[in-house]
């Protein structure tokens, strides 16, 4: 843990959203509105194969018949889906041969965000796919990954290069009509990452995608598909930021993971979209995401780790379908809400195979006027003999205007299961902080220590650099909420 002493004023200064800048690049944006022609235009623009267009049209037809979900514990004005532009891309004249040809403005943006895109620097042993509004602008380390047979590329490229793989798996975990936002995403998604790990391969590096919304009043609809074949392993990281706008941007992503026999996917997210103005709650990103993994082969494992610190509204339930026998699903989450943020997040663990195991560790921290809900489902099917689940969802409240809720759904139809669920709620109290201070530990470090202790079980699941970043992020966000 970093022990450097920041003065209070430094911390307070830092406390504003430092990713709130916009980048002035010439971009090509579709006119606002959504109809079948827009869906066709997106498909045409991306020069997609016929099956993809059919997939989109089917999803769009389904979406028109669906209603926005009302059950989440969040409140927001109705979204006008006709007032959003469904495609925005930095203007490019030709196919890029190397990173040097990426618009320098875009490169500078990612530099400001601290994302090492420049392969020359080889700062981190992480392969990055950078998604700017609707398109992927740069993917690093592709060659090195290809040497071991790993495919890592933007979705649009995968559709051209490996259409049969995409066709085989796309929509198998999250069907087009799964829910309102998944259907919308299926109809209009523009880009995202595609990862294929061939059998018997351990990915030599972390793979990551960085999402950035830049244009006002656009929606970002990305689609990520990760397939991990037999006996393989990959660790995947995802990061997100957006500029500060007074209007709300919609982010409706879909992530699908598939693991074959003995495979493992570890998926980590640090989500720091712009959360809106802290005082008024104006602006911010609506983060309505469907993430689901299917442990298809026996003995496979999917692990979700998420640190949610941004977005005006979060609606997100990374789930695991434990279909194969002896499969394992894990969910580790820290959700921090402050200002006027609202989060309704959690997971679903669907036990179908025998001897399936899942664990859920969820930590919610709510400060200021925010509302933080954990909503999780553990469902054990009739044939899931010896299924095992452990859930723990703890909440921490900071200030008496915030609220914390838990809504666990536990459904069992098999008698050989063992399920435990527990939850507790507490607060960072003046007494705890006073005790630290009486021992000569500064207030900032005391808060950091309490938060770090509270979230330890989740942070230790994160890759090293993410863990440090996540911890700093939480401390900074909470700084002027306590005391």
């Amino acid at each position: 843990m970093s022990t450097e002493q920041n003065s209070v004023s430094d911390i307070l200064e830092d406390n504003t959203y430092k990713y709130g800048f916009t980048t002035d690049v010439e971009s090509e944006t579709f006119a606002k509105g959504l109809n079948e022609d827009v869906v066709r235009a997106i498909s045409k623009k991306k020069e997609e194969p016929q099956f993809m267009l059919d997939f989109r049209l089917k999803a769009f037809a389904k979406w028109k018949t669906m209603k926005e979900p009302e059950w989440p514990n969040v409140h927001y004005p109705t979204i006008d889906f006709q007032n959003i532009s469904y495609y925005s891309a930095p203007k490019q004249k030709k196919v890029l041969a190397s990173l040097d040809e990426v618009d320098p403005e875009v490169m500078r943006t990612f530099e400001k965000l601290g994302i090492p895109l420049d392969e020359q620097k080889k700062l981190a042993n992480v392969a990055v796919d950078a998604v700017f509004d609707s398109v992927s602008v740069a993917t690093t380390h592709k060659k090195k990954l290809m040497e071991v047979g790993i495919i890592f590329c933007p979705m649009s490229e995968a559709l051209k290069e490996y259409p049969e793989l995409v066709e085989q798996y796309l929509g198998t975990v999250v069907p087009v009509g799964d829910n309102f936002y998944a259907a919308l995403n299926s109809a209009v998604f523009t880009d995202g990452s595609f990862v294929y790990i061939p059998p018997d391969t351990i990915s030599p590096m972390e793979i990551s995608t960085y999402f950035r919304i830049n244009t006002e009043e656009t929606g970002q609809f990305e689609r990520t598909l990760i397939i991990c074949a037999e006996n393989s392993y990959v660790s995947y990281l995802e990061g997100c930021t957006a500029p500060q706008f007074d209007t709300n941007q919609l982010h409706a992503a879909v992530v699908e993971l598939v693991t074959m026999e003995n495979a493992e996917i570890k998926y980590s997210t640090v989500q720091n979209w712009y959360a809106g103005d802290k005082e008024t709650g104006k602006g911010g990103v609506f983060n309505f995401v469907t993430k689901r993994g299917k442990c298809q082969g026996d003995n496979s494992k999917i692990s979700w780790t998420q640190v949610e610190t941004g977005s005006a509204i979060t609606w997100k339930y990374p789930s695991c379908i434990l279909q194969g026998d002896n499969t394992v699903g894990e969910f580790y989450s820290v959700a921090l809400t402050n200002g006027h943020m609202q989060a309704d997040t959690g997971t679903k663990m669907i036990h179908l195979g025998k001897n399936t195991r899942s664990s859920i560790i969820s930590k919610g921290i709510s400060a200021d006027y925010s509302s933080n809900s954990y909503r999780g489902q553990v469902k054990v099917g009739k044939n899931a003999t010896n299924a095992r689940n452990y859930s723990q969802c703890d909440s921490m409240l900071v200030g008496d205007k915030s609220s914390a809720h838990t809504f666990p759904y536990i459904e069992t139809a098999n008698s050989s299961v063992q399920i435990e669920h527990e939850a507790s709620t507490s607060k960072i109290s003046e007494e705890q902080l006073f005790y630290f201070e009486s021992r000569g530990i500064s207030r900032e470090n005391a808060i950091e220590a309490v938060i770090s202790g509270f979230c330890k079980e989740v942070f230790k699941q994160l890759p090293m650099e993410f863990a440090v970043e996540a911890q700093k992020l939480l401390t900074l966000k909470l700084e002027d909420s306590v005391g």
Binding site: S395, T406, E420, H421, S426
Partner: protein, 434 residues
């Protein structure tokens, strides 16, 4: 709330039935009935994804066509006597088909406490019409809409009702067609008053739907010990709603033992309105075959320094279903709340279902709230240990199952109820254990 109707014919069948009720003559509670009926129409029967009925399938119930009780039911005194607990033989109020029967009751000791609902004081009347307007449970609205007369049990301030009061609900089935019974009791407890109540639900045969609503209004410092024993006939439906309002330092201890029937649902709505009040809800159900018991609890902590405890245990066997849907809501400003909630399920067969939804909604920061759920089966290690000590496999299993339920049963403070539950409820387990 967004309620769409399952099928509009289900509601209209009840509306038609209500017209027939009106044709029989004007009831003393007509105004209340009309309010409740319009609320019933607004709410409509729950669809399959209704948040209050996530685990309860009411389709079979609402599709059943009910007739009005014709008042011809006769229950023998022996039958009634066999269900009265020895301690309560001088204080037992008997309801036949949802209607208070003074003839069969033994109410000399508490006569002065009783009053027909239609003659209740203004305060109670205002309360009734307000709750009917704001009812959130469609079945409670239905009950009020069909309730011709209810009972007010009033305990004056600083009074302690000596002994235990038993309420016996006897429902007679009807072979000609299903009947709905709608008993209603309002309990009004004055300052520092106390009462102990045992309620028992029994039926002579199946084919009835008992849909009861009870309101407990506790003034400052009042104390209640309340035990419900649900032993309806198998082919019946049992819905009950218990509303509890607690003022300063009042306490309400409730235990419920259910043996289930084709659909039993207990709805508790508790409001801890003033500082220092306390509620304890315990429940146990032992289910076999196709029996069902569903518990639905909402506890609102509206004032600081209130306490709530919930502990529910379910044993499910055969094709039985149990569910628990409980929410503790800590309102803004209700600091120093202490709330805990624990649900344990023991599943004994591969075809049974145990569903749970323990929720917390917290709007205050200085609180202590916990909830926990477990679902499991007999612990192999414990089972094995008992067998190494010379118990047969069957006896060991029985011992473990019994002791699982006993920890709740033994919190009931009436020995005769504990004994009865040991004899009847837990006997169900033995029949199955092979």
């Amino acid at each position: 709330m967004t309620d769409t109707l399952v099928e509009s014919s289900a509601e209209s069948a009840f509306l038609d039935l209500h017209k027939k009720l009106l044709e029989q003559g004007r009831s003393a509670l007509a105004e209340l009935q009309v309010t409740a009926l319009s609320r019933f129409e607004e709410l409509g029967f729950p669809h399959s994804k209704h948040e209050m009925y996530t685990f309860v399938n009411t389709k079979g119930l609402v599709a059943t066509s009910f007739s009005l009780p014709d008042g011809s039911a006769s229950v023998s005194e022996d039958f009634v006597a066999s269900h009265i607990y020895p301690d309560c033989k001088d204080q037992c109020l008997v309801f036949i088909d949802g209607v208070f029967d003074r003839g069969l009751s033994r109410c000399e000791g508490v006569n002065s406490n009783l009053m027909p609902l239609s003659e209740a004081d203004e305060e109670v009347k205002a309360y009734l019409s307000e709750t009917a307007e704001n009812e959130n449970d469609v079945f409670a609205s239905l009950s009020t809409a069909f309730c011709d007369e209810g009972l007010v049990f009033k305990v004056e301030a600083n009074t302690q009702i000596s002994g235990t009061v038993q309420i016996l609900f006897v429902s007679t089935g009807n072979t000609a067609g299903s009947v709905m019974h709608t008993p209603r009791i309002v309990w009004q407890l004055g300052k520092l008053s106390e009462i102990k109540v045992i309620e028992k639900f029994v039926g002579t045969e199946g084919g009835y739907f008992i849909n009861s609503v009870q309101d407990w209004l506790l003034a400052e410092g009042a104390g209640v010990s309340y035990t419900q024993v649900q032993m309806d006939s198998i082919g019946s439906w049992h819905f009950s709603k218990v509303r509890v309002y607690l003022n300063r330092n009042a306490r309400f201890h409730s235990s419920n033992a259910s043996s289930g029937n084709q659909l039993a649902r207990h709805h508790y709505e508790v409001r801890l309105k003033e500082e220092g009040s306390e509620i304890r809800l315990n429940g146990v159900s032992v289910l076999d075959d196709k029996e069902q018991v569903h518990n639905f609890v909402r506890i609102h902590h509206e004032a600081p320094q209130c306490i709530s405890h919930q502990h529910f245990k379910n044993i499910v066997n055969g094709h039985a279903r149990s569910s628990f849907d409980g929410t503790v809501i800590v309102c803004q400003g209700a600091q120093l709340t202490s709330a805990d909630q624990l649900v344990n399920n023991l599943m004994l067969s591969n075809d049974c279902h145990a569903n749970n939804k323990p929720n917390l909604m917290i709007f205050a920061d200085d609180v202590k709230c916990t909830h926990g759920v477990t679902v499991g089966q007999i612990d192999e290690g414990q089972w094995f240990y008992l067998q190494t000590r010379g118990l047969s496999a069957k006896a060991a299993k029985e011992l473990l199952t019994r002791s699982f339920a006993k920890s709740i049963i033994e919190t009931i403070e009436f020995p005769e109820v504990v004994e009865e539950l040991n004899d009847t409820l837990l006997k169900k387990l033995e029949a199955r254990n092979d």
